[in-house]
């Protein structure tokens, strides 16, 4: 289906690309037609950096990664490098990882426990609460030339946490994290608080692929690719030989572009219950969740959720190898663009603190073998994302849309007990359409007042 590059008279240039095309013309979520242009185009990428990555809320890390005073991990907020650090008093901060003097990176390792960040360039030193303690050659500054009180590390505009997850934004006018997550919090409870607290184990796996970040994002709310993209696992008996095996459940659009699935197994598949957790842990759902949440946790084996734009949970039930029975794993994912066609990915493994030791070990093995760059699931996903990106670069391809129309006319299920809109059947593209709808909203809303588009 080709796209018309017209309808420009009513629009200002803010929403128009250099070739005259309107963003709202080439991205039509309500019709399930998304232009290939947005995936690998340098102009669209540059707009995304300002309109999305400079002002949305981004996941930085989990509290279990920085449990002690002085603990720090280096991450990104949007695409800017940050330090997530717990100071000497136990307060968590996020700072631009860059000296106020020349901009040199001040935390140059991936994880640390330290009281000071000392810049290698001229030796400016900052306390772990961001205050500038000492510049260099201070006796050579004249009166009023060095105001140390105003030269602390640059903090993110807002830092918030929910269920142990730290998020930040560079936009002081952005809605609060609580407001932004909105109804999504109800579903995050089911994943991040179902048995008490979670632990993010060890360190994330980090890797780069030659793909658009949006193909990763698109894929994390796509259940029906599993049977075919991961057909090798069907062939060796790790996935059911039944195309609809992951179709039983609901898809939910939870507002602000947040989207998720809860999936039951194939009929008669008793492994796809209780989020794949051991039965001994199921009574905890009632203690930590409300009855409607607990019922969802109890009756589903899989869930995939996206906290818009680029943080995802994958609560899956898979087998670690051809001789092991399926069990639960919780994988957290983040991706951000290094360029229009290159993406950096983070993948964490998380476990319920209340989990029995043997389950913890088995779930870890299950995770490592299936997910991350060496995982027998993930490997094949990267192949798709890279090739989808490569074919979106050419000028001819950019005239055409991708197809996201599955379930376009499907009616919501009024019996769904959670907030947002629940749709029956977890094969569909309503969640992708909601994601691209939010993308369009951010990409076409002027920056004048800052903040998320309202």
């Amino acid at each position: 289906m080709s796209l018309a590059a017209t309808r420009s008279d009513a629009q200002n240039s803010f929403t128009r690309l250099a070739n005259g095309e309107e963003l709202a013309t080439i991205v039509r979520p309500e019709e399930g037609l998304i232009s290939r242009r947005i995936f690998a185009d340098p102009e669209v990428h540059a707009l995304e950096l300002e309109r999305i990555f400079a002002r949305a809320w981004f996941f930085l890390g989990h509290e279990s990664e920085i449990p002690n005073p002085g603990d720090a991990v280096t991450r990104v907020c949007g695409i800017d490098p940050v330090i997530l650090v717990r100071d000497d008093d136990g307060v968590v901060h996020a700072f631009l990882n860059s000296c106020r003097h020349r901009g040199m990176r001040v935390c140059r390792t991936d994880r640390e426990n330290l009281r000071f960040f000392r810049c290698p360039y001229h030796g400016w030193s900052y306390r772990n609460n961001g205050e500038l303690l000492a510049a260099s050659c201070e006796n050579h500054y004249g009166e009023g030339e060095l105001d140390k009180g105003k030269l602390g590390l640059i903090p993110v505009a807002q830092l918030g946490s929910y269920r142990g997850l730290y998020f930040a934004t560079w936009d002081k006018n952005a809605p609060s994290l609580e407001e932004w997550l909105g109804d999504m919090r109800w579903y995050m409870d089911i994943i991040f608080a179902r048995t008490g607290e979670l632990e993010f184990v060890g360190v994330p796996q980090v890797w780069d692929a030659e793909c658009s970040w949006k193909f990763a994002t698109d894929n994390f709310t796509d259940n029906f690719h599993v049977f075919w993209s991961h057909q090798s696992l069907v062939q060796i008996g790790l996935l059911p030989d039944f195309p609809d095996f992951a179709a039983h459940g609901h898809m939910v659009t939870a507002g602000n572009g947040h989207i998720l699935h809860f999936v039951q197994g194939a009929p008669g598949d008793e492994t796809a219950m209780g989020l794949g957790l051991p039965k001994s842990m199921w009574p905890r759902f009632q203690q930590h969740l409300n009855p409607a949440q607990a019922e969802i946790a109890m009756n589903h084996g899989y869930s995939a959720g996206t906290m818009w734009p680029n943080f995802h949970w994958l609560q899956l039930t898979t087998a670690a190898d051809i001789e092991t029975t399926p069990m639960g794993i919780l994988n957290l994912r983040l991706e951000y663009p290094l360029s229009p066609t290159r993406t950096r990915m983070y993948s964490w493994f998380a476990i319920d603190k209340a989990a029995p030791t043997d389950y913890r070990k088995a779930s870890y093995e299950n995770y490592v073998r299936n997910f991350g760059p060496g995982g027998i699931f993930d490997q094949d996903d990267m192949e798709n994302w890279e090739e989808c990106t490569a074919t979106a670069i050419g000028p001819a391809a950019k005239r055409y849309t991708l197809h996201h129309r599955m379930g376009l006319n499907r009616k919501p299920d009024p019996s769904w007990k959670g907030p947002g809109i629940g749709y029956p059947d977890s094969y569909g593209e309503m969640t992708q359409r909601a994601w691209y709808g939010e993308w369009l909203r951010w990409m076409t809303k002027p920056l004048a007042n800052g903040g998320a588009p309202r």
Binding site: D110, V203, R369
Partner: protein
């Protein structure tokens, strides 16, 4: 050098460069590399002991005083059965990351052989470099150190009883780990 010679404790001198045992280990490593580069994955799997642990820990960027940066997390943490699972997967027509297959070249160098921790075992350290080209893409490269434990299996052939893959990269810049190490 006979099989009997390595069922007892080996002296460092007996596995030093230039010895028959050293030569045997090097040839074993070269033949292993050839199996991988010619897609003979089932034959490659036969080189591993049934109780093998094969892992590749995640590495982080750290100051030298903090050690090499290997952390509690892995890109691979495998048993014989999970390696078998990977091989069976690669042998289907649907393992898209390797269908059509990458072209790989496994290089092994800086081979050092020492007595293992247990009688009959050898501790083998090598540097590895793996190049991959895929479809019309440019070269990708994986480098690092590998630490193997070899022991004699049936018929006196070496089996890999332990393999630790220590990557030089903290952020893997190579799309995925669909190649075997």
């Amino acid at each position: 050098m006979t099989a009997a010679a390595v069922t007892s404790v080996v002296s460092p001198a007996a596995c030093a460069p230039g010895t028959p045992l050293y030569g045997e280990v090097v040839e074993f490593l070269y033949r292993e590399a050839e199996l991988l580069d010619t897609y003979r994955f089932s034959e490659w799997l036969e080189l591993f002991a049934a109780d093998v642990r094969y892992d590749m820990p995640v590495r982080t960027n750290q100051f030298r005083a903090a050690g090499e940066g290997f952390q509690e997390m892995a890109f691979f943490d495998e048993t014989f059965i999970s390696l078998k699972t990977r091989v069976k997967r690669l042998e289907t027509e649907f393992a898209w990351a390797e269908t059509p297959p990458s072209r790989t070249r496994h290089f092994v160098s800086n081979v050092l052989v020492a007595p293992g921790e247990r009688a009959g075992e050898l501790a083998v350290r090598v540097n590895f470099m793996i190049t991959r080209t895929r479809a019309d893409h440019g070269y990708q490269m994986f480098t690092g150190r590998r630490e193997d434990t070899l022991r004699r299996g049936d018929g006196g052939r070496f089996k890999i009883a332990r393999r630790r893959i220590l990557s030089d990269q903290t952020v893997l810049t190579n799309t995925n780990l669909s190649v075997l190490f």
